[in-house]
């Protein structure tokens, strides 16, 4: 990626001197020794970790304290974009199956305390979204939030992408946002824990943050993928390079959304991707190209 090369060569990784810049440093880095695992997702309290396989087949939950792992599902596609609530007690995920070459999926809910899954939505071809905001999780079916009652009642604001658009949903009221010029596409849409900002990626333009009403869109990185919030002021994302065929370098970056100050959490050679963090516990987990999971303990320097 040409753009990415320029970015690195301009030395944007150098510290920007700013009074209130937030900078992340790695206090400790260690391998989570559970064999090959990909696409990790940490609960907001940092106590449970979801992970899957290279091809999203199956879904597991790891207790970060005891390091005991449980299989939630062994199904096709179960590991694709699940959601987990604040304390890791509940998980929504989807099983996929092919029907005459057409993809169908259902929605399952897994109870981490009791163990075992129940089907929340049957197999179908409708656009079902699994949503997560500030430790709340919900299922969006046919523009309706289907959250579990006790979870859904706490908060009712979600932001997500639907057909390349940003949708902010309060209760069953939908609002479509267009923070960038028309024709833009929106991916990896995520609401900040304090519900004030929306993180998204415009594939051609980069990583952005805007206000909840769609105003004040600000580019925080020229090129990045799989971004996620680390508190309300820091965004984690993957910066990678490729030659048009395969990924040649990949690293985890953190960026202060207020100042643009970047922190390099891993080197480009680390082939790291898919970071998921919990500011409550000061932990970040990521996987690399070989399926090794790593746990970073983070210092936040103000």
């Amino acid at each position: 990626m040409k753009k990415c090369l320029i970015l690195v060569s301009l030395g944007l990784l150098l510290p920007v001197l700013s009074a209130n810049a937030v900078k992340l440093t790695v206090k400790n880095s260690q391998i989570i020794d559970i064999g090959e695992a990909y696409h990790p997702l940490l609960s907001d309290n940092g106590e449970k970790l979801l992970y899957t396989s290279d091809n999203y087949r199956g879904l597991h939950v790891l207790d970060m304290g005891s390091m005991n792992s449980n299989e939630i599902s062994s199904s096709e596609g179960a590991g694709y974009s699940p959601v987990i609530n604040f304390d890791g007690s509940k998980v929504y995920y989807r099983n996929m199956q092919l029907d005459g070459r057409l993809r169908k999926k259902n929605v399952m809910m897994y109870d981490c305390i009791k163990g075992g899954s129940v089907e929340v939505l049957p197999m179908g071809r409708s656009d079902v979204k699994l949503m997560q905001t500030a430790g709340e999780i919900a299922v969006l079916n046919d523009d309706k939030i289907m959250g579990d009652d006790e979870l859904g009642s706490k908060t009712s604001v979600y932001a997500y992408s639907m057909h390349d658009r940003i949708v902010v949903q309060t209760g069953n009221v939908l609002k479509e946002l267009n923070p960038l010029p028309s024709g833009s596409r929106y991916l990896w849409v995520k609401l900040s824990p304090d519900h004030k900002k929306i993180l998204f990626v415009e594939p051609f333009e980069g990583v952005f943050v805007c206000d909840i009403d769609g105003t004040n869109a600000k580019r925080i990185a020229e090129d990045g993928s799989s971004p996620s919030w680390y508190g309300n002021n820091v965004v984690l994302f993957t910066r990678s390079q490729d030659d048009g065929y395969h990924v040649t370098a990949s690293q985890i970056m953190a960026v202060d959304v207020n100042t643009g100050e970047e922190s390099q959490l891993t080197t480009p050679e680390s082939m790291a991707e898919d970071a998921s963090g919990s500011i409550t516990s000061g932990k970040i987990v990521y996987s690399d190209a070989n399926g090794t999971l790593r746990l970073l303990e983070i210092n936040v320097v103000e």
Partner: protein, 801 residues
């Protein structure tokens, strides 16, 4: 049995469910046209008339997008939902591979295509499609990805407008790119749906590069992708058909030197007007081929039925072909166009041009005829003759505008030849020449390249350690491929490789040719080897050897010498030998130093010298301290280890009897590397006692070896001061004398060697036991040195044939 039956039933029931009809509107396809933005990860191929990096030239991102956009349109027309990763081609369009995969996942698509083309990136050029999916071959990470690839491959292979060099293949990317481990193709890493990357053809196979510049040719690939989608989802096909093909000249070939196969050899027609007519003769559609050397035409959406395709192209006769169109198929129809040749053929240029009185020509001179038209090869070859008759080979170049005759064997020397092309020669349109053409030339006196000498010589030997060979010819050799024409083989017939970096050879302008090269390993002492010279070794004029030549030789360990000898000099100190300028002549420079190339101790004496002219050079080196001053007897025997440079000059030993210096020939330096040579003091006259006082080099006339580099290691004395009359080996008999075939010796002790020495002191022949073959030795009087029991005895012997 019952159980199995019900199982089978259940299986068919399952099939029935899967076979439930899918509507096109149910299907959603994600299209990723590979690369983007003409940047560092795009692929540019330089083709005329575009420069490197020209945005108008060939870029993979362009043809990938042309295919992708037309695939989108084809699928949408069929009611299928499509999402694309990009629809333009700028640097911003070059999306991160993870982002592309995530976009595809989030789109809700059922399948994913990443559209690319391939390149060998080497001088080799091939053309075939490759399909790649995530995982190992046959074990896709996402199920059905391999089936998707299987649906596409036969579609792409059915394209007859291209030229395939190989059968296409599908692979898992982990198998195809083993060095990437299970990382695989970036765009397939994150896709959670059946996905593949298609390398549709090779965009650096230049005829294909030109085709991929054509929008409609890209449509054809897109149409095959659409067919793969219909197959994959088991959707109904189209009710209409399509026609395409290539318009090309029927005979004229492309002149550019890029690789081309099959029909791609023929010149494609640019700007040809192609007309489609139905069975009633009504014009249905027209098409003009582009200016980018592909000749491609396409008629889309044609009702099934019989059609005629007629083509007009500049300087060609009109052509017409019939095509049948079927529903949901592409009908292919290449159109071969015949050139208009409106004048009779004639020879516009020929060679050699030679007139009586001109210098005569080489015996391998090719005969070249150039014509105003491309010729019919059969009639033209039949009309060609040469007198006196010579067997030869005819080749055609420049799309049959040029014919070349090369004699299979060189012409006879000093001979007048006459070449005639009769009026039977026709051009490609069948019209014959109006006038015959005839011309003559005379050959010179030289028919073959002559081999002057080789090292080792036939029947000769070579020191086994660090061996180098050399061949010399009477004119400078073309050494470009000579290593393929010379080989060294051991007794078992295995080739002994050369050390290629050590090759040296004569350059144009020299009066003779040579090629010297070291072998890549040591030889085995005592083993027989051959040097094999191909008759195709030629000089710079292409004059070659008359026959293949085999040179037999033996490897020896020259350092063994004579173990009973005592030392004259160890050759460690340059001060041992001093140039005697008063007895030297016709040299430019001469030095004595020591060299680290040695057989014994740590150094050797190194004589380097350069003669002034081609003859008369003499260099006399004297020992600082003469050996055994006034003590040596006639026929006292010596040995010397010489490292030669194949300069052919004579090496002599100098003996002084107090008044005169007598020279004894040791050898000609007709070898490379180390050789052990023996020599004896001259015959005594009266009570004279000799001193061994030095060495002399005398130039053998010729241009070879004007600059020389010779080394000496130990010089040894091989008889402990006893004279001819005093040494007797008990019971020694030598017979017959005179001898003609063999000299046979016997004694009370074991005879360990015989050496026959000429009157000039030169060693003529040697044997390691008691019999010596003298059948090849000229008649005359010789000295025979007999070794036995650590002693030497010397006898005069006459050889008479």
């Amino acid at each position: 049995m019952r159980k199995l039956y019900s199982l089978t039933l259940a299986f068919f029931a399952g099939m029935a469910i899967n076979a439930m009809a899918v509507e096109p509107t149910d299907v959603h396809v994600y299209i990723n046209p590979g690369h983007g933005g003409h940047d560092s990860d795009d692929r540019n191929v330089v083709i005329y008339p575009f420069e490197q990096g020209d945005p108008e030239g060939y870029w993979e991102s362009n043809s990938n997008l042309d295919k992708g956009l037309q695939l989108r349109d084809l699928l949408e027309e069929a009611g299928i939902k499509v999402t694309m990763s990009r629809t333009t081609n700028t640097s911003e369009d070059d999306l991160n591979l993870t982002t592309i995969g995530t976009l595809a996942n989030e789109s809700g698509a059922d399948i994913f295509f990443s559209i690319h083309s391939n390149a060998t990136g080497t001088g080799n050029r091939v053309n075939y499609p490759i399909g790649l999916y995530r995982g190992y071959t046959g074990q896709p990470e996402v199920e059905n990805s391999d089936y998707l690839a299987e649906c596409l491959l036969p579609q792409l292979m059915s394209n007859e407008a291209t030229v395939w060099t190989n059968e296409g293949r599908n692979y898992g990317d982990w198998t195809f790119y083993p060095s990437w481990g299970t990382q695989g193709l970036g765009v397939l890493r994150v896709t959670a749906i059946p996905a593949m990357l298609s390398e549709g053809s090779f965009h650096d196979y230049v005829p294909e590069t030109y085709r991929l510049m054509n929008w409609d040719f890209c449509w054809l690939e897109a149409w095959h992708f659409k067919q793969a989608v219909l197959t994959y989802f088991d959707l109904p096909g189209e009710t209409i058909g399509h026609i395409c093909g290539i318009v090309h000249d029927s005979r004229t070939e492309r002149t550019e030197d890029y690789l081309k196969y099959d029909r791609d050899v023929l010149e494609p027609m640019c700007g040809a007007e192609v007309t489609l007519k139905n069975s009633s003769g009504e014009v249905v559609d027209t098409y003009t081929t582009d200016e980018l050397f592909n000749g491609f035409y396409l008629f889309k959406n044609v009702e099934p039925g019989d059609y005629k395709i007629s083509v007009k192209a500049a300087e060609h006769y009109d052509a017409e072909i019939s095509v049948n169109v079927a529903a949901n198929a592409v009908s292919y129809g290449d159109v071969a166009m015949n050139r208009i040749r409106n004048t009779p053929p004639e020879v516009v240029e020929y060679s050699p041009v030679w007139n009586e009185g001109d210098e005569s020509l080489l015996c391998n001179t090719p005969i070249v005829l150039k014509f105003n038209w491309d010729m019919d090869t059969e009639s033209t070859e039949a009309a060609f003759s040469i007198e006196p008759a010579v067997e030869g080979t005819i080749t055609w170049e420049d799309s049959n505008y040029q014919m070349t005759f090369v004699p299979n064997e060189p012409y006879a020397t000093n001979t007048l030849y006459t070449v005639t092309l009769s009026t039977g020669a026709c051009h490609g349109g069948g019209t014959p020449m109006e006038e015959a053409v005839s011309f003559s030339f005379r050959t010179d006196a030289r028919r073959f390249l002559q081999l002057i000498s080789t090292f080792p010589a036939d029947g000769g030997k070579i020191h086994y350690d660090g061996p180098a060979i050399e061949i010399r010819t009477d004119s400078v050799m073309n050494c470009t491929n000579i290593r393929d024409l010379v080989s060294i083989k051991d007794a078992a017939g295995n080739t002994v490789a050369f050390n290629n970096r050590t090759m040296s050879y004569g350059k144009a302008g020299s009066s003779y040719g040579f090629m010297k090269i070291s072998l890549s390993k040591d030889l085995n002492p005592g083993e027989n080897y051959t040097m094999n010279l191909s008759r195709n070794i030629s000089d710079l004029d292409g004059i070659s050897l008359e026959n293949d030549i085999v040179v037999n030789f033996t490897a020896s360990d020259e350092s063994k010498g004579n173990e009973y000898a005592s030392m004259v000099d160890e050759c460690e100190d340059a001060a041992t030998l001093v140039l005697d300028e008063s007895e030297s002549a016709n040299y430019e420079s001469a030095t004595i130093s020591t060299s680290s190339t040695h057989l014994f101790g740590s150094r050797s004496l190194n004589a380097k010298y350069k003669f002034t002219g081609e003859e008369g050079g003499v260099l006399t080196y004297k020992f600082a301290n003469p050996f055994k001053a006034g003590e040596l007897l006639g026929y006292d025997m010596f040995g010397i280890y010489v490292n030669g440079d194949f300069c052919t000059h004579g090496l002599y030993a100098l003996f002084e009897d107090g008044e005169t210096v007598e020279e004894v020939k040791i050898c000609d330096i007709d070898f490379h590397g180390w050789m052990y040579k023996q020599f004896v003091a001259p015959e005594m006259s009266g009570d004279t006692r000799y001193s061994f006082v030095g060495l002399r080099i005398k130039q053998n006339p010729g241009k070879i070896g004007m600059s020389c580099d010779i080394k000496f290691d130990n010089i040894t004395y091989e008889k402990d001061g006893s004279g001819i009359s005093k040494v007797e080996i008990s019971g020694l008999k030598v017979y017959p004398n005179p001898a003609s075939e063999y000299i046979i010796t016997s004694a009370d002790s074991l005879i360990t060697g015989l050496t026959l020495i000429g009157q000039d002191g030169r060693v003529i022949s040697q044997s390691g036991y008691n019999v010596l073959n003298v059948s090849e030795v000229p008649s005359g009087t010789y000295i025979l040195v007999v070794e036995a029991d650590k002693m030497h005895a010397v006898k005069k012997i006459i050889i008479s044939h």
